[in-house]
Symmetry: C2
Subunit: 415 residues, 2 copies
Amino acid sequence: MTRDDALALDAADPLAPLREQFALPDGVIYLDGNSLGVLPKATAARVQHVLTEEWGRDLIRSWNTAGWITLAQRIGDKIARLVGAGAGELVVADSTSVNLFKVLSAALHIAAADAPARKVILSERSNFPTDLYIAESLARERGFELVLCEADEIAARLDGGIAVLMLTHVNYRTGRMHDMAAVTAAAHAAGALTVWDLAHSAGAVPVDLTGANADFAIGCGYKYLNGGPGAPAFVWAHPRHAERFWQPLAGWMGHAAPFEFTPGYRPAPGIARYLCGTPAVLSMAALECGVDSVLAAEAYGGMAALRRKSLALSKLFADEVAARCPQLALASPTDDAVRGSQVCFAHPEIAYPVVQALIARQVIGDFRAPDILRFGFTPLYLRFVDAFDAALHVQQVLDSGEWRRPEFNRRHAVT
Amino acid sequence: MTRDDALALDAADPLAPLREQFALPDGVIYLDGNSLGVLPKATAARVQHVLTEEWGRDLIRSWNTAGWITLAQRIGDKIARLVGAGAGELVVADSTSVNLFKVLSAALHIAAADAPARKVILSERSNFPTDLYIAESLARERGFELVLCEADEIAARLDGGIAVLMLTHVNYRTGRMHDMAAVTAAAHAAGALTVWDLAHSAGAVPVDLTGANADFAIGCGYKYLNGGPGAPAFVWAHPRHAERFWQPLAGWMGHAAPFEFTPGYRPAPGIARYLCGTPAVLSMAALECGVDSVLAAEAYGGMAALRRKSLALSKLFADEVAARCPQLALASPTDDAVRGSQVCFAHPEIAYPVVQALIARQVIGDFRAPDILRFGFTPLYLRFVDAFDAALHVQQVLDSGEWRRPEFNRRHAVT
């Protein structure tokens, strides 16, 4: 592979026009869309409109006239198209952590009602920590036990004690992806419910919640959905479960008639009961622009086409780094079928300063403790030449020893 | 009182310059700052900067370089100054409903540990419904009972069965304000903990959580704090309680070391454990501008001066409406000591269309089911002549019968 080969791939790339949607800073190779997606050009104007016209001029009336009150459902229906959920089955609200609390709580209630002997939440030891913290907390509250295992052990651990299998579809560190349909089928065969975290999946890989017959799912708005820092998250429950129990964050936006102001809680039908408080309108508006930037790919073959390009980008980068940087160990799967939209390498000592040195060169990936260099590939705005150049930069940082500089070895608050 | 008298009051008003901070639409008399505060002029530029520079240009680096990671504490410290809390004792996060869930959960855990025979959450029947829904939900989850009474009955109901007294400081419908110090002392004397909702207090009336020796408090960012639609909310726990228990929404931002990515939850010291997921940065930035717009009053006498003007505004309006509109019954206290920053009237039949007719005249208050016309008085941006003119409009709407028009009798989704 030469740089000209990469440029040729870009010239032939049918998805290339999608990059024009984004306000990418000059000179930056951004391989961190799995941590914070880039700013769509449409977002600044949309948020400004919400600020000055909807809020500033129309004030409280905008709850009706600008449709603020239905943003959660409107954006939810758009995200549903990206994850194989039906219209009206998914809403946007709160954070990923808060939404996980809601669905895991519901799953534990269902398990307690249908299979009270099952007292275990099973998850992966390398799951994203906030998921484990929420599960640990709910397990304490409800008298369940959180049991952690390795990904390869899940099938063997699915026994009659498991109430809920809670997994992140694509691992945040390694990019390893579960076969959602097969794992869900195995969980159901063992009598367990499934809760899927789609943080690194929605907008990144094809997801078919309905086809997989999943039970509950939540996901993040600020990674591949380009919704902006701390964008609201989403929550889905299979229609067979949505109305079985209250979710405990029974706030007024999840009430059947919030503006009747009645003192007793009456949950809204369907997924709307998974809403809680007043929606963060500014952040929701930005999220909608981000989701629209992904839906724009529907005219170019949709998630299937994005997936093909994502795999090609990540394979190019992985192959080039592997060939150029023998010091680094590939930490992501080589098999396309089980790799999400990222590539990770590990180094036992210098992962952190190498990532900092790359950032100084405007090649932005991130470090994930304790030893991972993580590079996300967002096919909406990345070019093949970006993947090629990034690999060259990794090589140069290692070969030059510039990662040794003191400023690259000082830890930041957020890594 | 004549219109010239009102203009004279404005000419003599030392707080008048504060109005210049806001982008008020021409011709609007906005009496709904207790539902959605108005847009500060600084907000649009600040949010645009966050969008284009912090997010768009600096991307993921802004978690460190722009201080996104400490927004919750930085804005929390500013709000603390408005509610009598200490620095480091209050954080901004999530919604009011979600934060209520956190503190009520903690209060119930403390009660269960210290006084297990106490099984009642006591609240007011006319409390804001989302508070009652959250309490109803937690009571179900934890085996407590939610008991509702009238405001006047609270003192008599504080017996040995009460675990937690949960109140909104200023009633959302009537504007009636509790004496926080006296009620808290009575609750403590009876062995109960207190949870205060400051939704209609923060930025509206002087609050002294420390002086009142309150136990827990939460509040809203989008009313008197001018944070924008659905702005993040805040949460405070008295330092004696903050570390006693986990709050159940144990997400990664409340972890002692979130970026170590360890699988076990270890709560952060102090109030930081009341954080949960990734903060909604765009909404937080707007909230900070709103809070700053209230803190600007510190140069003019602070909350005490705002309170004096608020009471003068609301008294002027209440007196004028009472004199001009005998059809309406005053539903707010006349005693300054127990009236928040709003005035309400009731009418058994036509409250809704009268409010709609006023909105059509650009006099924006709101209807609260079943029979309340609610008018909020925000001394930061309202003038005495606004209060006077608003009373005239109420009279004209009633006398003209224009509230009978069909368009004013059609219900909107959000009232």
